[in-house]
Symmetry: C2
């Protein structure tokens, strides 16, 4: 059975939507899809607000109730029957997220076991046959087949097969 | 530079000493080295107390102030110069331990970065050139060179090069 490592943030969970909402709450400013095209949220906020974004991400509870990407639950449930599935998140930059991520996975992906979770600092330690991730840097040391999960911040990244959404993942992998 | 994945519990940190102390506090009973030879603490307590041991391990704070194995700090500091070093702990069974382990590493191994931590459910996802671990099961899917870190519970395990203590690790790896 092939193994598959699936990222959390901006792949199955949506921290950026929540960070944008908090930013709107605090500064009354939102960003259009055009402004975010090819960029991260930290790229588009004024430089003096970048630490504020980090502060959001390290607030206990921030990651506990994130929205799930459309169809992620259903497709992961099926992938879990066909692959040795692991959820791998480079989560250590935000230690307050560790327990939140555990609890979020327990609640929203109850068909996965805690044996399938991996919270690391850097994904260069991960081995699997397939990796689905929205960040090119996570493929740096990866020896399996990478799929870049599409997001506004990675539209200019080339050289990877892309997964547009979880419906697309189902077509490619199920 | 070769990479090296180093386990936490019963390799650099001593949760069993603390669990034995708590068990003595609660039941007034301790165990001799002879009783523990070839066995885990859960093996030697009465079967009805096994859940109590799990309860200790899932108490918030339990992992926060564990004793460090002799010479582990000094030797890891040197290994960190020679290898890409990662601390890898199969920690997910005890989610209350996640933050404690992060904080413990930050305090007692300040020369390591959070980028070098990995808290997982199962080590089959880990790739490295070398792994040091006290549990044979963590080598099951490992493609690098395993070193079994010696402990009373693994004395009957054969087939692996053994590291007796951190002084011995220094001799073998530095």
């Amino acid at each position: 059975m092939l193994s598959i490592a699936i990222d959390m943030d901006e792949t199955i969970a949506d921290p950026i939507k929540k960070a944008r909402e908090w930013y709107f709450r605090d500064y009354g400013r939102t960003f259009t899809p055009e402004e975010l095209h090819g960029k991260t949220l930290s790229d588009v906020v004024p430089p003096e607000h970048r630490d504020k974004i980090k502060e959001y991400l390290n607030t206990p509870g921030f990651f506990r109730d994130l929205e799930i990407f459309p169809n992620a639950q259903e497709v992961l449930k099926e992938l879990n029957k066909k692959y040795k599935l692991y959820i791998v998140s480079a989560a250590m930059e935000f230690p307050a997220s560790l327990r939140d991520k555990f609890d979020w996975l327990q609640e929203f992906f109850p068909f996965l076991s805690w044996r399938q979770y991996c919270l690391c600092g850097d994904k260069s330690i991960v081995q699997a046959d397939i990796m689905i991730d929205d960040l090119e840097r996570n493929f740096a040391n990866f020896k399996g087949k990478p799929y870049l999960y599409h997001g506004h911040h990675n539209v200019h990244v080339t050289g990877y097969e892309r997964i547009l959404n979880w419906e697309d993942a189902a077509k490619k992998l199920l």
